[in-house]
């Protein structure tokens, strides 16, 4: 595992960026906060020695998906929506529900449940998370899954084009 300083630095920036994304008024600001958050999570993957997933995270999430979001925001030319001024029962209920979920999750984490296996050392972890190991699994045991994921992405692309095209009547 990584040094505590890197973990706490990345974790703090990630939580701050996530809060900034939820709080920001303008959708563009929201998207830029989310990009920062995704970069921090990629850094956390690297501190876990999962270098391949970290690189995929930056390429696919921070690169492709966020560019898609920003493209749509600027295509629609959105201004910031006026937020609800009154505190309705739905918002109070939602906040209580969220805090319940958080306390339940943290309670389970704080129980220090037993995984049943000892944590592996850094060398093994770096080997498990390397592109060589994961690539070999991807093209042997998970070859069919890769094909199915490809078909899913094709279907999503065709569906997105069908949904978003302008219809002339």
């Amino acid at each position: 595992m990584a040094s505590p300083f890197m973990f706490f630095f990345l974790a703090t920036v990630a939580v701050a960026a996530a809060l900034g994304m939820v709080i920001a008024r303008s959708p563009v600001t929201s998207a830029l906060w989310l990009v920062l958050n995704l970069f921090c999570i990629a850094g956390l993957y690297v501190t876990l020695n999962a270098s391949f997933i970290g690189a995929i995270q930056i390429l696919v999430y921070a690169g492709a998906i966020m560019v898609l979001f920003l493209f749509v925001i600027m295509l629609l030319n959105l201004s910031a929506l006026p937020e609800l001024s009154e505190i309705g029962w739905a918002r109070v209920g939602g906040f209580i529900l969220g805090m319940l979920v958080l306390s339940q999750l943290l309670y389970v984490v704080a129980l220090e449940f037993d995984l049943g296996v000892d944590p592996v050392d850094a060398e093994t972890a770096a080997e498990v998370g390397s592109a060589a190991t994961l690539g070999e699994m991807l093209f042997t045991r998970y070859a069919l899954h890769v094909e199915v994921a490809g078909i899913l992405l094709l279907a999503a692309t065709v569906g997105a084009v069908m949904l978003a095209q302008r219809r002339f009547e």
């Binding site: 990584a2 505590p4 973990f7 974790a11 990630a14 939580v15 996530a18 994304m21 939820v22 959708p27 998207a31 989310l34 958050n37 999570i41 956390l44 501190t47 876990l48 999962a50 391949f52 997933i53 995270q57 696919v60 999430y61 998906i65 898609l68 979001f69 749509v72 629609l76 959105l78 929506l81 918002r91 939602g94 529900l97 969220g98 805090m99 979920v101 958080l102 999750l105 984490v109 704080a110 995984l115 944590p119 592996v120 972890a125 498990v128 998370g129 190991t133 994961l134 699994m137 991807l138 899954h145 994921a149 899913l152 992405l153 999503a156 692309t157 997105a160 949904l163 978003a164 302008r166």
Partner: protein, 101 residues
């Protein structure tokens, strides 16, 4: 001093909750989709943490496919937002209520 697995899990729980609150509180459909991406990321972080601490690469395969599905979800979701914006000229989810009445 080592960083324990539990700290990563706690961070993941906090990020997931922030994503949930974003889905519940925001009215902009695009920001709601971004909050869903944040929740997916929190779960991916949990999967990678367990996978690396147990030395089993299968969890990271699941994360790989989860990222592929997230990309498909973002593309279709944004296409739906564009289609609704064409007919309704809004992305405010409180004003998209065609099926409500």
């Amino acid at each position: 001093m080592e960083v324990a697995v539990n700290w990563y899990l706690a961070l993941s729980a906090v990020l997931f909750t922030i994503g949930t609150l974003g889905v519940l509180f925001r009215r902009n459909a695009i920001v709601i989709l971004m909050s869903v991406e944040l929740m997916l990321n929190a779960v991916n972080l949990t999967l990678v943490t367990f996978s690396q601490s147990m030395g089993d690469p299968s969890g990271q395969m699941l994360v790989f496919f989860s990222i592929a599905v997230a990309a498909a979800e973002a593309a279709v979701g944004l296409a739906i937002v564009i289609a609704i914006f064409r007919s309704n000229v809004t992305v405010d989810v409180t004003e998209i209520n065609l099926f409500k009445h």
